[in-house]
């Protein structure tokens, strides 16, 4: 009984000393949780708490000082970095931790073989509205996307639309899973989302332009940078990471952490970078 109490007290004390909180991107929440679980297994006494909510939520929490690490699937904006500096008095450290590709999905019965970035842009800007214009015997293109609070939305808007506005007819859904589910029930649909697996859908190979080859969002293509729409996923901290936080981030960037990226469907960084 006494020993149990001692162990409890000891673990409580160590937990109180070494808790790292992570908050942010819904894209990254599973990745963060896997990292946390494996890290806690090999480093007993450290508690790592991971919550989602979205890149913006994580960054807001970093600004308020209510999280140690913000996970974000988009680069932080200059005004957000300035807010951290103002509120926390520290410069933001930006640490790329994994790579992700954004896939364009269609219904599995859709025979579309290739899509170029220019075509995707015209579809999402509302200029290309009929499948027949792409040589497909279907009617109107039903365009699915993400809500404007999503890092994927921001990324797609910047890289595919060149910061042009989405057409008002784009249906917005919460989460890649919702987009995939909607497309699987809609043969006229197209949608974008993080690379994932799902029944009833197919990722269309994407080409930079008419001449360049269309590439599938595979590990190889994302890693060598040839897949046209891939992005980095980030950790953000206020100030340089120190102590337990630094040990955790080093571990994430090391071989074990990067191996987990691959296991949950993302891609490791080309070469591990040090914060």
């Amino acid at each position: 009984m006494k020993t149990l109490a001692l162990i409890l007290a000891a673990s409580l004390a160590s937990a109180a000393g070494k808790t790292v909180t992570i908050k942010g991107s819904d894209t990254m929440v599973i990745l963060g949780q896997r990292w946390a679980e494996d890290y806690m297994k090999s480093h007993p006494g450290t508690v790592i708490q991971v919550t989602g909510g979205g890149s913006g939520t994580g960054i807001a929490a970093l600004i308020n000082g209510s999280t140690d690490i913000a996970e974000a699937s988009r680069p932080m904006k200059a005004e957000e970095k300035a807010s951290v500096k103002r509120k926390q008095g520290k410069d933001v450290s930006e640490i790329p931790v994994a790579q992700d590709g954004v896939a364009l999905y269609v219904h599995k019965a859709n025979p579309l073989k290739k899509i170029t970035l220019a075509q995707a842009k015209r579809i999402y800007a509302g200029e290309l509205t009929q499948w027949s214009e792409l040589g497909i015997k279907l009617s109107q293109i039903i365009v699915y996307g993400r809500e404007n609070n999503s890092g994927t939305y921001a990324y797609f808007k910047e890289h595919v639309l060149g910061n042009q506005d989405f057409a008002p007819e784009v249906l917005s859904l919460p989460g890649t899973a919702a987009v995939i589910n909607a497309i699987s029930k809609d043969k006229n649909a197209i949608g974008y989302g993080g690379i994932a697996y799902g029944k009833g859908i197919r990722a269309v190979p994407v080409g930079n332009d008419e001449k360049s080859p269309a590439l599938e969002p595979t590990m190889k293509n994302v890693l060598d940078g040839s897949y046209p729409i891939s992005r980095a996923l980030y950790f953000y901290t206020a100030g340089k990471p120190e102590g337990e936080m630094k040990r955790f981030i080093d571990w994430v960037l090391g071989p074990e952490g990067q191996r987990i990226c691959g296991q949950v469907g993302y891609y490791p960084l080309k070469k591990p970078s040090k914060p």
């Binding site: 909510g53 979205g54 890149s55 913006g56 939520t57 807001a60 005004e79 957000e80 009617s139 109107q140 039903i142 809500e147 404007n148 609070n149 999503s150 939305y153 921001a154 808007k157 910061n163 506005d165 989405f166 008002p168 007819e169 784009v170 249906l171 917005s172 859904l173 919460p174 589910n181 909607a182 029930k185 809609d186 006229n188 649909a189």
Partner: protein, 310 residues
Amino acid sequence: MRTGGILSAEKAVEALIRLSAFSAILGLFLIFVFIGKEALPVLTSPEARKEAGLSKLFLPQEGPRPYSWQPVSEIPKYSILPLFMGTLKVTLVAILFAIPLALGAALFTSEFAPDWTKELLKPIIELLAGIPSVVLGFFALMVMASCVQDAFGIIYRLNAVNAGIALGLAVIPIVYTMADDALTAVPKSYREASIAMGASAWQTASKVVFPAALPGILAACVLGFGRAIGETMIVLMASGNAPVMTWALQKPVRSLSATVAAELGEVVVGSPHYHVLFLIGTLLFVFTFALNLFAHWFVRRLQRKILGAA
């Protein structure tokens, strides 16, 4: 001494329950003040007014899309008219679907159904109100959307009709319960008099009982309308959330309430976008409040008229 103790205890209890009654008013007031305070910068702060002034919210803008809700953009666009239109469209579909069904059911259970049928039907219809709206929304998204799409031959799977019908399912029990109560409250002597004059059961129900219960029935409809305007989760899940400026029911819609729910979690606190979302909240609040107030006033007026005439 002892009675004095009991008396003071009674006083304390009375004060407590009075407080709990008045706390509702206090709560309402505080909510309004807080939401209004966060919405006010749209009118007062020069920074917010430059980006999202009232003219930008309500008037057509230059460019190819005069009414555009694109708050996350290099040049944010905050036209809330497509959102108003979305809310109105979904609400209208919900009302058109729910009110005839609910009133028909209420007329049946209060006037025509034998006791055992009524005792079976009433709790089951009211149970509809107990289904969490997120469950109704999920059902509409996964199952109903495909059925509605096939039935009406609509190209968009998620559209105003689908969201409206799902919303109607949430409105039915509210309208039904109040309408049934209003019909049941009509004095029995009205029915007896009507039947004694040789009227049939249907004539009694439609020409005597229904008109007598009209104030309560109208109140039921207005409350159902209010519920439909404010409901968020069903619309968020079943409507497709595209801010399209059109009256076409087969297009997807983005409602006011769903916009607040989808965007508030991520918005930069204190930005014009943040204040506009609170302005939308304030408008929804004022709108449902005014609607309820109007319903109350209208019902009272009608009641006096009917009673005065009777």
